[in-house]
């Protein structure tokens, strides 16, 4: 399998602190990759580099043959990269349906978007999306009124609406109930294959439920890669998690 996304020798430093130090990672097309690691391992920074929020000081990021490291954020998004943030980021004053409309970025130019949707052509699509993430009842309410879990779902729904080839999820189940987490796992299983996903998570139960291959980061570097059983048995991984009660309690 050729790599869909390839990070080669990527480094980034914040005021001299090397948050990422020679990171290598490659993810195949349609794969669902879980990214775990102790606090401060650089997981979120790795996602930031892929989506352009942080510019790497060295190394290359290649996605579907395109070098991403020198592109602007919106250009990276147009290349097919979607990102869900750790802090749920939605448009609070817009209705849920409008949030999903904005995310459906088929056209991105200003002039191209100077159009009215009198016939409400996108409505059906939006309703399907809302059903997928369980927000049908909330469709016409402002996003500000949603609960924390629902806000997380809305942002996930927005990423599905964006229909990016590569979806980066930063702690998608944070603040969700056990039932909501289970539904999220089902949704991710459906997205896998059609989209390539990278999911940063702390919840090992969730990771085991969805992930084929797990990548473990530590101190800005890739520590180990493999199935859940493999990484749990990996001596370096055990050492990295030492004192925090092992990988399952991270």
């Amino acid at each position: 399998m050729t790599a869909h996304l390839d990070l080669h020798d990527v480094s980034v430093s914040f005021n001299g602190f090397k948050a990422i130090n020679g990171l290598n990672m490659s993810v195949g097309k349609g794969e669902l990759r879980c990214l775990i690691g102790p606090n401060g391992a650089g997981k979120t920074t790795a996602l930031d580099i892929i989506c352009g929020k942080v510019k790497p000081s060295g190394g290359t990021v290649t996605f579907a043959g395109t070098a991403l490291q020198d592109l602007e954020e919106y250009e990276i998004a147009r290349a097919g990269v979607g990102r869900k943030f750790q802090v749920p980021s939605v448009f609070r004053e817009l209705a849920v349906s409008e949030n999903l409309e904005v995310a459906r970025a088929r056209r991105t130019s200003v002039i191209g978007n100077l159009r009215w949707d009198i016939r409400n052509a996108g409505r059906e699509h939006v309703e399907r999306l809302a059903e997928l993430v369980g927000l049908t009842e909330q469709l016409d309410r402002p996003a500000a009124y949603l609960s924390h879990g629902q806000t997380q779902w809305l942002e996930i729904g927005m990423l599905v609406a964006q229909d990016a080839e590569l979806i980066l999820m930063d702690e998608p189940t944070a603040g969700m109930t056990a039932q909501e987490t289970r539904k999220t796992a089902e949704l991710f299983a459906r997205l896998k294959g059609k989209h390539t996903l990278i999911v940063v998570e702390h919840d090992m139960g969730f990771v085991k439920a969805i992930g084929d291959v797990i990548s473990v980061m530590h101190m800005g570097q890739m520590l180990a890669e493999g199935t859940a059983a493999e990484v749990e048995a990996h001596p370096e991984v055990r050492r990295a998690y030492l004192g925090s009660g092992g990988i399952s309690h991270a």
Binding site: F91, V102, A105, R123
Partner: protein, 378 residues
Amino acid sequence: MSSNVSTSNGLQRLTAQLAPLLIVCAVVFALPVLLNNDFLLNKVARYLVLGILTISLGLSWGFGGILNLGQAMSFGLGSYAMAMALKLKTIPVHTGASGLPDFMVWNNVQQLPWFWVPFRSLPFAIAAGMIVPALVAAALGWFMFRGRVTGVYVSIITLATMVVINLVIIDQQSYTGGFNGITDLAQLEIFGVAFDAYGRATYYLVAGCVLLSLLVAFAFTRSRAGLIVQAIRDHESRVRYFGYDVALYQIFVFALSAAIAGLAGMLYTVVMEFASPTFLGVQLSLSVVVWCAVGGRQSLVGAFLGAVLVAGMQGALSESAAFLETWTLVMGALFVLVVLFLPKGLAGLAQVIWRWIVQRRHASGSVAQGVGQTEGST
């Protein structure tokens, strides 16, 4: 839900959103019938023009999240464009054979400056009155929004830019009339219709422009681009990661807002019969912010009514003997009260009252289908 139902829902929403706009415009057009006083009509026309200016600020502030404290800059530029054209129309009646505006003759200018020449054409002047402010705003916006300048820094930069242009106009007396502005203008004449500042024609011209500005702004906010601009106001970086070039959208709404302000400026010259550096002064610019906040910045009609009502009150208070000294205090108190208790302005209050009425009607069994579900955010 079948697409047929959602289409009629969309139309219902549209009508509900357009209704307040059209009602307000109908009242504006009907006013001369009730108000048989040319002096008063001129005054109302002045407030309507300020209303258009406030709509333009509502567009960039309420919908785009860009608080432009220098909105009067675009207004002033439009005003001067119109004044220059109307001044040139007075030649050679008011001036000598040299063919220069009177103030240039007094300042020993020998030849009409190059940037005055094209203003001999009225269509050029009218186009310039909107395009020049839009271009200035786009250039300023290019530097600000490409550089990811946000929030209070945008306000400071826009305010400072306006002050600079104001000072340049005052300083270049021989070309701009300096502190006195440009006075003694000819009447605007389009297709043989003369627009006397105290005539009905001028009032209807202003009223037509109110309708036009409201419709253009409404059409923009209802478009997909308008939706994206509102999304940028709520969460700028989130929009960026969906692949939109955020800066371009901000520049667009900033320039559109400036063009509408420029239109208002041109009308102001026609109504006031002069252009003055105070039209791009700090006091007017900040007043617009107050009007917009009082009316409701996220409602175009609200912003318009806020300007007309508050500017009207300002006018009435400053002329009455009792409030001659204290009217600014009254206005300040009003602003503080609205900001504290009505964050969405009078438009927000109207919405709350409307919902309450609809709910009561629902409760008492009568059907008010559809109308009650709309957000009414025109």
